[in-house]
Subunit: 82 residues, 2 copies
C-alpha cells in the first residue's frame, strides 16, 4: 500500500532559532507588531509503500534517526496525509 506522511522537523526547546528570530524581527519592522514569536520548522512530505501503516511509521522513524533529523538539536513528529 501507498502512504503519504509529513515528517515535521523542529528545533528542540532551548536551541536558538536564528531564522525564526530574524523572521519575527522582519515582520515587526514591516508593521506587524502583534507578532510575539516565530518558530521555523521543516517538513518532508514522503510517499512510500509498505505492507501496513505501522510498518510505514517504523520506516519513517528510522529515516528520521538516520538522515532527516539531527537528534542533538531537533525533534521530529509524523503526521499522515490522506
Amino acid at each position: 500500500m501507498k502512504f503519504t506522511a509529513d515528517v515535521i522537523i523542529s528545533l528542540k526547546k532551548g536551541v536558538i532559532d536564528p531564522e525564526g528570530e530574524a523572521t519575527k524581527k522582519a515582520l515587526n519592522l514591516l508593521g506587524f507588531r502583534n507578532v510575539s514569536r516565530v518558530e521555523s520548522m521543516k517538513i518532508f512530505r514522503i510517499e512510500l509503500s509498505a505492507k501496513t501503516k505501522e510498518d510505514a511509521e517504523d520506516m519513517l522513524k528510522e529515516m528520521c534517526d538516520r538522515l532527516l533529523a539531527n537528534p542533538v538539536i531537533q525533534d521530529y513528529s509524523i503526521r499522515w496525509v490522506e
Copy 2:
C-alpha cells in the same frame, strides 16, 4: 486574544524541488527503496495577538504576501495550532 498558527510554505506544482529530490535519492541509497517521492516544505509557527481569528487570518495572509512566501514559485496555507 493570542493565536498560534502554522504557515506552511510549499513549492507550486511544476517548480523543481532540489532538496526534496536529493533527500529522496539519499533515502533510496540508504536502503529505503520504497520511498517514491519526497517534497520539502517550510513552516513558520507564528504567535500573534488579534481581536478575532478572522483578523488574525487576514494578517497572516498579508504576512505571506509581503514577506514569507514568494508568489511566483510558492503556495501557502494556514493551519491553527491549539
